[in-house]
């Protein structure tokens, strides 16, 4: 499932520091919920991992060992040890281990360049972590947590169903 331009367009206007703050908050929340998250990264912890959602005008660079996340506006030449590119929902599904990264790579839905050892370690660390964005992030919504949980769950189910559909049968956004 791709995010349509009409939904991603507003991101052009939102100031980067604000997006970065939200991302750091979410990153902090996930790191807190999964304290051993990056233990499997070993010597790759201090490397720069770039994630480029193909359907967003943004790029994200993460340094796990420092719990650092920076957001850049595209087009940009990211300086990173390894770069992963895929639609946002696939990147999120990979984070939760709900999709198989190798299968997405074979089908060319996902592309990876740079330091493969670091990338593989990151893939395996995420896959081992049991991250559940619905559970981990809904709490950030405070009193609206139940609503947030439901919305995240529904969007995720829809995106995953779309991913499992045979090729050529992609669902429309609405």
């Amino acid at each position: 499932m791709q995010i349509p331009p009409i939904l991603s367009a507003p991101l052009h206007m939102i100031p980067i520091p604000l997006i970065e703050r939200i991302c750091r908050l979410m990153f902090g929340r996930i790191a807190k919920a999964h304290p051993g998250l990056f233990e499997r990264l070993d010597e790759h912890r201090e490397k720069r991992f770039a994630f480029l959602p193909t359907d967003l005008p943004l790029a994200f660079v993460v340094v796990p060992g420092r719990q650092e996340i920076s957001v850049l506006r595209k087009p940009v030449d990211v300086v990173a040890d390894c770069v992963t590119e895929a639609p946002l929902f696939l990147l999120l599904a990979l984070m939760e281990g709900r999709c198989d990264a190798d299968a997405l790579f074979f089908s060319r839905d996902l592309s990876v360049t740079g330091d493969m050892e670091a990338m593989l370690a990151m893939r395996n660390a995420l896959d081992a972590s049991n991250i559940d964005l619905q559970k981990d992030l809904a709490k950030l919504a405070g009193p609206f947590a139940p609503i947030a949980r439901r919305v995240i769950g529904e969007v995720r189910d829809r995106a995953l169903k779309d991913q499992m559909r045979p090729a050529g049968e992609a669902a429309a956004w609405n």
Binding site: H44, D102, F106, A125, D127, A128
Partner: protein
Amino acid sequence: MELICPAGTPAAFHEAVDAGADAVYCGFRDETNARNFPGLNFSREELKQSIAYAKSRGTQTFVALNTFMRAGAEEIWYKGAADAVASGADALILADFGLMAHVAERYPQQRLHVSVQASASNPDAINFLVDAFNAQRVVLPRTLTIADIARIGKNIRCEMEVFVFGGLCVMAEGRCSLSSYATGKSPNMNGVCSPASHVRYRKDGGELVSELGEFTINRFPAGEAAGYPTLCKGRFDIADSNGYAFEDPVSLDVMGELEALKAAGVKALKIEGRQRGKAYVAEVVSTMKAALNSPPERRAPLLARLRSMSEGQKTTSGAYEKRWR
């Protein structure tokens, strides 16, 4: 027939157990393991917890210590065997004769399986391992036809396990030096074929170029299914032609031959893929389990969906049905 399933992380292990695996195989996070990939595999504690979970569900755990011991560093393998036995592993999967001798002597009660890496591919070799080390099962190399397997089965004194699905290593198992040649690291000694540390992917126009060390392994035009940069599945210039010299980027799938494998005396079916994610493990194990429980005519449609998860999005029956091109 038993279904033997892979797990590279405790999360994948749980998925395999929950999806109906009869046994899960896994290994430690070190060079004793032929899938010694970054970020993969089990700490001692994780293995203990996983085995306890498997036991609570009636699932067995096989621990792979399936690389060859480095001279002078045997302690690493001996310690691995001691820890796996102490954790309650149902079987150890071993390739090195020295390690087999050590385990047979120190832990005579421990069930011992011969790894595919040992390349035991004829009755004399297999029976030698049974007599010398009390091996109870042999994982047969992927170089045999089903007729070969049936002939072997009649003449050996242990159980047979065969690979039925997943990555395909096309050489005489344990004896391939391609990865060593290109990178200095091999599956037999370091637990990695075509290691990630030597892999590079880059884009060249619309093409995806895969490189291993100094070698270009493949160029995938836009839209063509991609594969790993394993040397045996590279596309090379040979004389005037350009193509796959040894094997295409494909995966093994002989689930269509279940009845023939059963008739050949096969006791267990093994799924390759400890390096794959938990989503793959869950999908493949549950689908294969459903296929095993279905009548033969219902299996093909069930299994068809697994093709999209395979390397190159193609599958082959490999040497099991040998055809020459």
